[in-house]
């Protein structure tokens, strides 16, 4: 019996992993983090201590929740600038995220990615919050991100703020291990015509066009469209994996400043992509969104903003047959309506209060495949939230920030996410900070509603794996300590250490007797554990024309089954994370308007759960390079090489029986023209 169950379990786990995989095949899964923490001092002396580049990033109208100065922000934030993206040769948002040393970015296949901060970079990475211009893009289906659906004209991205560590107090559920905040340029900054195009060995062909104009002196707009076509990844033997794909996207943004107090933004995007799957069949996704935001600034110390958006995504995925279910098609339609208000003001001289209210309505409609189904085909959910935060100037150079978010979701009711942060600026250019915060990951449909396979498809037992009807939120209490410094204008650095204590992490349990063979398995909260480590980042402007950057990240994880409980996966399923990561970048401005950029990374080996047994992804070095020439101010020609050190290499694994895919060396040429 025990033996039979074990082998049955193996098959089941394989099937489960297979079905997961299928769901994920189309995904660029990942998670990440975000954003900005508290505002910093408005003292003019702070501005004085800033570099020109930093000054250019100061929001002089003080939008709340936007950091005023990163070097003062008491959180582990790294910023990827638009310029940094351009110079890296990145051709997608996941590639650009490799620039953040506090993320683990792994490409699984041609259109699938695993991205996370501070661990838990599993197939269904689910502990990051990702926002594009304030619009949340993680899916309530499994609390992760379909990275293939998140794109933009990279030229028009202003910056990407990557915060590792919890951001729940401001941002709410899912900002457990981090927040990624992708911020596009205002329409005023993208005036004129922009064209780009090119192609190469992996990035087969791409083109984009943007036009920005002014309706009058206060109202600016832009419209853009882009297309790209990517070659398939390969199997370990070098044969094509058959997962080539293409996508197209277009959108607009309108920015108006009818008065010195008011700013209005209206923006929207629509996309379609079509991806071949390594298991045969295809996956397609389309979607559109529209967002409006009104910000009113009463004064230096008082403002509010009101934001609403609607977002629709449609997913269609071929799900192949397995031992328990025939082939089929999974379809999902998700509609999200979101309303967000926040206000900032001073109470007396020392207390800066930020508070806000939010409401989100989602309607998720799933059309099941036999191998991947959900208990309710249609699910409407309401999420209510409020937060308040007080930033107190305790001393002239010491600030304490206390706050909490309170949310109500339909699965677990009320949730709270408090935090306390202390920042000390002993002298200009030096910030020491510490924080204690609690964050949660609320259940997703996957955790609660999963049905595998569809009822009736399996013999003897109705389902083999189901969502846990009592699955609760996963929680973390995070302790952080960090230091940022700017030594002269040329050197800056930061180190952020963390110790995270997790509870109620997802596990897979057997059903108690009288259930046959312990089936179905179901999701439970039987894991707990700790992670700790640190992120180190240094930037050095060696010469006027040469800049180097270095990153190192250490991550230790101890995730285990709680005493007296069980986990079918022996606590292996939550982690797939390298212990060490090293990144080095060099950016040179050479004579004759030539730019030369090199990016080297070393990712340590890591262990992933392959059907209940540990398997290893070996460590690897990879190198990206870009050389660009500007013959005139308006034209840029560049050649980009990606993953140059190997014909193909493994970054991540999708567990068996699905094929392993490796990422090939890629080279592409690009021309960009701007008027």
């Amino acid at each position: 019996m025990g033996q039979a169950r074990q082998s049955g379990a193996g098959i089941l786990a394989g099937a489960w992993n297979a079905s997961l995989r299928l769901l994920l095949l189309s995904l660029l899964a990942a998670g990440t983090a975000v954003a900005a923490d508290t505002a910093s001092s408005e003292d003019v002396l702070v501005f004085k201590s800033m570099t020109l580049a930093e000054l250019m990033d100061v929001d002089v109208t003080t939008v709340t929740r936007t950091p005023q100065k990163f070097s003062d922000s008491p959180s582990a934030v790294q910023v990827i600038t638009g310029e940094g993206i351009r110079r890296s040769g990145a051709s997608s948002i996941p590639e650009a995220l490799r620039l953040a040393g506090n993320l683990h970015v792994a490409q699984k296949g041609s259109h699938t990615w695993a991205i996370s901060a501070r661990g838990f970079n599993t197939d269904l990475a689910n502990k990051l919050l990702v926002l594009i211009d304030g619009r949340s893009v993680y899916t309530p289906l499994f609390s992760g991100v379909f990275w293939d659906q998140q794109d933009y004209l990279l030229e028009d991205i202003d910056r990407i703020e990557v915060v590792s560590g919890p951001g729940g107090t401001l941002w709410g559920a899912n900002a457990v291990n981090g927040v990624i905040n992708i911020i596009t340029k205002s329409a005023k900054e993208t005036q004129g015509l922009y064209l780009e195009g090119g192609g190469g060995s992996e990035l087969r062909g791409f083109g984009a066009i943007r036009y920005g104009g002014a309706i009058n002196s206060n109202v600016f707009f832009r419209v853009y469209g882009k297309y790209l076509n990517r070659d398939a990844a390969v199997f370990p033997n070098g044969d094509g994996a058959g997962d080539s794909w293409w996508m197209e996207q277009g959108g607009f943004r309108l920015d108006a400043e009818p008065s010195s107090q008011d700013r209005f933004t209206l923006q929207g995007d629509a996309y379609y992509n079509n991806k071949n799957l390594p298991t045969g069949g295809y996956s397609e996704a389309n979607g559109n969104n529209v967002l409006g935001r009104w910000t009113r600034v009463f004064s230096d110390t008082s403002d509010f903003s009101l934001q609403m958006y609607y977002d629709r995504t449609h997913l269609r995925n071929d799900v192949p047959a397995n031992d328990f279910a025939p082939a089929g098609v999974l379809r999902e339609d998700l509609h999200t309506y979101d309303l967000d208000f926040q206000q900032r003001f001073y109470l007396g001289e020392r207390n800066e209060i930020v508070w806000g209210l939010g409401y989100r309505f989602t309607r998720d409609i799933v059309d099941d495949a036999p191998a991947l189904a959900f208990s309710r085909s249609r699910l409407d959910q309401h999420l209510y939230s409020g937060f308040i935060q007080d930033r107190v100037a305790l001393l002239e150079n010491v600030w304490l920030t206390l706050g909490t978010k309170i949310e109500h979701n339909d699965y677990t009711g009320f949730e709270y996410e408090p935090s306390g942060r202390l920042a000390w600026v002993p002298k200009d250019g030096h910030t020491l900070w510490g924080a204690i915060s609690r964050a949660i990951r609320a259940p997703s449909r996957f955790d609660r509603d999963l049905r595998f396979p569809t009822p009736g498809a399996a013999p003897l037992v109705e389902n083999l794996l189901v969502g846990g009807t009592n699955f609760q939120s996963e929680t973390v209490i995070a302790y952080e300590l960090g230091y940022r410094t700017r030594l002269a204008d040329r050197v800056s650095g930061s180190i952020s250490a963390f110790y995270n204590a997790y509870d109620n992490l997802r596990s897979t349990s057997s059903s108690p007797p009288p259930a046959l063979f312990g089936l179905p398995l179901y999701f439970d909260n039987n894991l707990e554990g700790e992670t700790y480590g640190f992120e180190l980042s240094v930037q050095y402007q060696v010469l006027d024309w040469w800049r180097v950057q270095a990153n190192y990240t250490l991550l230790k994880e101890d995730i285990r089954v709680k005493s007296g409980r069980t986990d079918f996966n022996n606590a292996l399923n939550e982690t797939a994370d390298p212990e060490h990561q090293v990144g080095l970048r060099s950016s040179m401005d050479l004579p004759g308007n030539i730019e030369l950029d090199l990016g080297l990374r070393w990712i340590d080996s890591f262990v992933f759960n392959d059907v209940g047994t540990p398997a290893t992804v070996p460590d690897y070095f990879e190198l990206d390079a870009r050389i660009a020439w500007r013959p005139t101010r308006n034209v840029e020609l560049s050649i980009v090489g990606q993953n140059l050190l190997h014909d193909h290499h493994l970054e991540y694994v999708i567990s068996s029986p699905n094929p392993r895919e490796e990422i090939e060396r890629g080279v592409y040429a690009r021309i960009a023209v701007q008027w």
Binding site: L52, L55, T61, S186, Q261, F345, Y359
Partner: protein
Amino acid sequence: MRFPWANLLWLAMALLCCPLSGSAQSREYQVKAAFLYNFAQFVEWPSNAFTNATQPFRIGVLGDNPFGDALANIVRGETIGKREVVLQQSNAPEDLLGCQMVYIAISDTNQASRILAHFNSRPVLTVAELDGAGRHGAIIRFYRDGPRVRFEIDPKAAEKAGLKVRSEMLRLGRIVSESAEAQQ
């Protein structure tokens, strides 16, 4: 799709909260004051900009001072190229000819060419607002990009004034050229 408009009531309540005092402008000018101080670190003045080695570095504000105390607070106790920094304010360009940097706070565009003629070919870093007076001819012009302050810079005009601008600063600013504008 139903949308719970009733929740808009929250907003109505929220909007009742009143703003506190303060000026929406001053933060912008605090930042601009910091920009001015920074510019001085990235520009080299020719030796003829100063009459002797101990002469202070003068920053002039032409017109009503929009910075409040911000500029004074920033330069207090600071030196630029080992020179003490002195602020000067005047409504007459003639008074500011001895400055190394002049911020033109006059918005009357009719006066623009007259004002700038005073500084023409002198080693003075002129800074103006893109939508203010002196947009033609000032070496540096501030402009707003949404919530942020940006600047454009005219390297040819700087060269004419005998000023050397470091490449780091040129990279950060939007490069414009007087002659190109004239052609338009």
